[in-house]
Amino acid sequence: MTSETDHSHGPHGLGEAVAARIERRWAALSIVIVGVLVCMAAFIGIHQATMPQGRVETADPTTLHLSGEFVESNLGSALEADGSVTVRAIGQQYSFTPQCLVVPADTPITIRATSADVVHGLLIEGTNINTMLVPGYVSDLPIRFKSPGEHVMPCQEFCGIGHQGMWGKVQVVDQTAFRNMAASKRRLTCVD
């Protein structure tokens, strides 16, 4: 009897039990890891990602300067009646116009931009603004800057042989400073 008991509960049977226990623990751990990753992706996706644009709007790239919202005199930041700010800009080989965008901190901002020639990119460093400017289409992006400061805005889509020199700036100023500027001019830029 003793020898039989020894046989079934010997070192072999014990090893099996240990292996099963460890396997269960590892399985639980990996399920937890997968769960954390999924929650992280969902959280970042909902809270920080740029949502796909809700509307498709078109604008003829060859006639932007003739009429419509992208004429030279209408580019820059506009203070809207509801207190929000609309910023309009175009990308062209090889600069953004306006070269320097000025916006208030802690204010809902809509960036509307398009391209006058080829595909350009619009990326504002330190924010999640990162989109393409496709000729013929208007890119419309909501954003809110937390605090005053300066961000660079490079073209992040190869657009031709002068691409490496194509970038602009975004200057975030505090709300009162912006309102003071907006009192005397209808479209604001920080181009000197």
Binding site: E57, V71, E72, I90, Q93, Y137, V138, G160, G162, G165
Partner: protein, 263 residues
């Protein structure tokens, strides 16, 4: 058991799985096309159909009212890379006749020492655009404005094609051994200045950018200064003002002297 029909609504497995799939499709369509779009106040949707169309990506013209009109005359020329790139003998012939009145300043062969631009071999789209801008007042010059004022669109095309047809004549100042300054070769990427040649023809051509080789240094310098100060504003959407504003006085000098010595 195998006699039972698989694809039949009487088979509960079949009807339940199809039912669930259809329900998911309908729910996602309602959520994606109607519910979620209507949750976004910034889309300013006017109703369910508007929500469905915008979510499905039906394109609409950008219709933002209240654009601030320009306080000065801007260029109204629609530039395309194909513009005036085809030779037209009849047009060139008419242009040759018309160009006689330009010869006093621009030279009988389109080349002169009068510090006015050399036009021989210039891109036709460039000459056409500048004539047009002089005519509309987007660019102002005491001598050129009255000349352009009475020209028809066809006459401007003819003159432009004629000058594009004339061969470039190297000026007496050509010096091919001159080392190009850094601002010409690489631009200044940190200041939003691309190499000149990425638009002006040595590397690539951007429609409306002139060939600069052999132009008078005095003229190039004056134009760069005018772009930088905003005295000249007929470059579409500030494409040249953006560059000239960032250049130093020394760089403007270097560029002017370099291009004068190029063929």
């Amino acid at each position: 058991m195998s006699e039972e029909k698989l694809y039949s609504l009487r088979n509960p497995w079949f009807s339940i799985s199809v039912g669930i799939t259809v329900a998911i499709a309908v729910l996602s369509a309602v959520a994606g096309l109607i519910w979620f779009p209507l949750l976004q106040p910034n889309l300013k949707l006017s109703g369910i159909w508007d929500a469905i169309c915008s979510a499905a990506g039906v394109p609409g013209l950008s219709t933002q009212a209240g654009a601030v009109p320009p306080a000065f005359k801007t260029s109204n020329v629609v530039m395309t890379p194909e513009m005036l790139t085809r030779q037209d003998q009849v047009s060139i012939g008419r242009g040759a006749t018309l160009a006689q009145r330009c010869a006093i300043c621009h030279g009988p062969q389109g080349v002169s020492d009068a510090n006015s631009p050399n036009l021989a071999g210039q891109y036709a789209a460039v000459t056409y655009k500048e004539l047009n801008d002089f005519k509309t007042g987007a660019r102002v010059n005491v001598v050129m404005t009255p000349f352009a004022a009475n020209m028809t669109d066809q006459e401007m095309r003819d003159v432009a094609l004629y000058y594009a047809y004339l061969p470039r004549v190297p000026s007496s100042l050509v010096n091919p051994n001159l080392t190009p300054p850094a601002i010409v070769v690489t631009g200044a990427p940190m200041r939003n200045i691309p190499p000149c040649g990425s638009c002006h023809g040595e590397i690539d051509v951007k429609a409306g950018s002139p060939w600069l080789g052999g132009q008078s240094a005095v003229y190039i310098k004056a134009q760069l200064q005018a772009f930088a100060s905003g005295a000249r504003r007929n470059d579409i959407s500030e494409q040249m003002r953006n560059v000239a504003r960032q250049m130093t006085a020394e760089e403007i000098d270097q560029v002017a002297r370099y291009y004068e010595a190029q063929p």
